[in-house]
Symmetry: C2
Subunit: 426 residues, 2 copies
């Protein structure tokens, strides 16, 4: 048999087709059996009328793998409007009783994640994830960026020791990377504009629906570029990702019951840009008082996001709440030339960005103020000693962006096998 | 100034141009100063004749960052055949004395890896690496594969415990992934055809020029496909990668002094395919006797690779030397339906592949024979319980392939910051 995907069979609309996949639903009547078959592309109803075949199919359970040949024709009552009259049926593997049905607890689904991936929900999310990854790369490659990988094993820490995972490295302690920052900046002196999509590790003790212990970060760094360029690039990147998902994953968004009218403004409107100071004023108008110098918390970000139907860009945060390598605003030494992008609909921070500080004295002072030992950062300071240039970059949380685009309740569903404080299997 | 890349300036050939970059070489004469400027695209000679500018340039050291405006014209004696007569010079940053010059030890270069990345050698390799990554993805995406990520944190081990890195995971031991295998197979029941390029970790105690503790693996897994398909796909993938590098990275291969006549046969010829048994016969003819059942060692792979000018595919290895999940040959229970791809020119194994065993009893037996506890693999066996299908896949070592294509002496140069038993900084 010359197999085609179910999607392709549906497009053929008539004639003989051969498809293969798994039983999504099976309904056994006296004189016929209806099987809804799924493959990675779609589902299709198949009807078995032949007596011998009915005997075979009668024993089959959900998730059994089949090869089917038959005639396809229009059938408005079928779930995808076409049906196959089965002429030939081969049981590739008769499934045992599949443990997942409709009324399982989230904990059971997590324990059986390796099986739950087959659900139409998870399959749709994983397809959108695949699109998101490619869209991000497309965006940067079009602009001449090189793909560059930083190491996962770090002899030292970059963003605060409390959230680092320690590895037994041939008997010595090393740490898992939280960001590519320290090892990305040296490479802009070779490649100028670089990006990556790679894992990052954060020993977050929080159990919120927004945090993973193992996540994927899309990061970029560019020589000769600054504050304005970074805002433009982050906005363009996000727009390109949303555009591509809307174009390529209509069916998946439908399966996820995502209201795409909430995504469409992202393409049409310029993202609002406001300073941290502005954001405090807006919050005050909504009876949320935040002391200057405190970082925006989840419920403040959420309040701001409610006021707009696109992501918003909040700039010039207080220096004290941001990473040591963010550049001090030359006009105001209390804030940095950095910004966060906050997603709509309460999806929180999806991008963190800044121009980078090039003044070694300021870098050392920032580290000391954060309780770090600047001596461990000598190799990093070298990037400011030998032909330093203005530069900057940002990191985007891949799972955060997928959660928002898919409209997920929990970030855990944005990745196949989520790892959190309480979950590291299967 | 409206800056363009040096490559673009060279293509312009005449007229006024503005470029920026770093001093690659500087030669100070009495009445003029020659600066060879480099950016990520190329190098160009710039000549300074103006008295005031000479005073400024006279103090400059290698690697200083500059903005330059001037007239470009043909100059056959210049390294890239054109020269800029500098009209305007801005020193962005006057470099300190750059620690790397021509006669440094490999150890010194490794300690200063963050600066050595700027060398024309490392910059060229990193550009080729960027091409290789994209070419691999292009190959699989064109065939309808989805990009899919497996977790780095593993509650259990996949390929032998002795080479696992242990992580302190909120007080519990977990391990870093050596392959995506166990978490990839469950996903083919959702997406059918998947690939990834992601880090893998191996606590290799060897100090050879072919091993890294942190490497990147390009892996694919496909439902409904078997032994022949996998050989074809691996060959196509490798051909596509070599083709794209030859097309896009001519200049970089030249800088690396790579003899591209050694790469060209890869595109023109079908890769020889031989069984392990055949390979033993060939080795015997060259006075290399290997007992049946032993794995090919480096020097045997090297001998075989000398006999061909393309990669070779060696199939049906003894079961005892291969991973537990490789499918037993139905015609010979002593060998597996798997293969390795061996690169030419002594670059060793670049791909390891197989159809997967679907018989749970055999999987358990294989695990037991390797001293593993099958109980830990229950979630994996589930992929054979609920609609099992024939499937297979392979893993390609990204750094191995880059080493071979670039003709490198050591795999460490195929990655920006190599991690080995003796090296985890900077």
């Amino acid at each position: 048999m010359n197999f085609i995907q179910i999607q392709e069979a549906l497009e053929k609309k008539k004639g003989n087709v051969a498809v293969r996949g798994w039983i999504y639903r099976i309904r056994k009547l006296k004189d016929k059996i209806f099987i809804v078959l799924r493959d990675s592309s779609e589902i299709i109803q198949c009807v078995i009328k032949n007596e011998e075949m009915i005997k075979v199919a009668d024993k089959l359970l959900m998730e059994s793998s089949l090869e089917i040949e038959g005639e396809i024709y229009s059938e408005p009552r079928a779930p995808t409007k076409y049906e196959i009259d089965v002429k030939k049926l081969i049981v590739v593997h008769a499934s045992e009783d599949f443990p997942i049905n409709k009324d399982q607890s989230p904990e059971f689904l997590a324990d059986n994640r390796h099986l739950w991936l087959r659900s139409r929900k998870m399959t749709s999310i994983l397809k959108i994830r695949s699109t998101v990854l490619e869209a991000m790369r497309e965006h940067w490659r079009k602009k001449g960026f090189y793909e560059y990988h930083s190491p996962m094993f770090m002899g030292m820490q970059a963003e605060g020791g409390s959230t680092l995972f320690k590895v037994d490295y041939y008997g010595k302690p090393v740490y898992l990377s939280q960001t590519w920052q320290l090892h990305a900046e040296p490479a802009i002196f070779a490649l100028e504009k670089i990006f990556t999509i790679q894992p990052a590790f954060r020993a977050e003790k929080s159990k919120t629906s927004r945090h993973l212990s193992e996540l994927w970060m899309a990061e970029m760094e560019a020589a000769w570029e600054g504050f304005e360029y970074l805002q433009d690039d982050a906005e363009e990147m996000i727009k390109h990702v949303v555009k591509k998902v809307l174009a390529d994953n209509k069916d998946e968004l439908k399966i996820l019951e995502r209201d795409i009218s909430k995504l469409e403004p992202v393409l049409k409107k310029k993202f609002p840009r406001m300073t941290y100071d502005d954001s405090l004023k807006i919050l005050a108008k909504h009876d949320m008082k935040l002391e200057w110098g405190k970082d925006l918390r989840t419920f403040e970000e959420d309040k701001l996001s409610e006021l707009y139907d696109t992501p918003i860009i909040i700039t010039k945060y207080p220096k004290v709440v941001k990473a040591f390598y963010m550049r001090e605003d030359p006009k105001n030494s209390k804030v940095v030339l950095g910004f966060d992008v906050i997603a709509p609909e309460h999806y929180g921070e999806i991008v963190g960005a800044s121009e980078r500080e090039t003044d070694i004295k300021k870098l050392k002072k920032n580290l000391e103020e954060q309780g770090e030992d600047p001596k461990k950062y000598e190799f990093y300071f070298d990037t400011r000693r030998y032909g330093s240039v203005p530069h900057g970059g940002y990191g985007a949380g891949v799972e955060r962006i997928i959660s928002w685009i898919c409209g997920l309740d929990n970030i855990k569903d944005a990745i196949a096998f989520p790892r959190t404080m309480t979950r590291w299997t299967p």
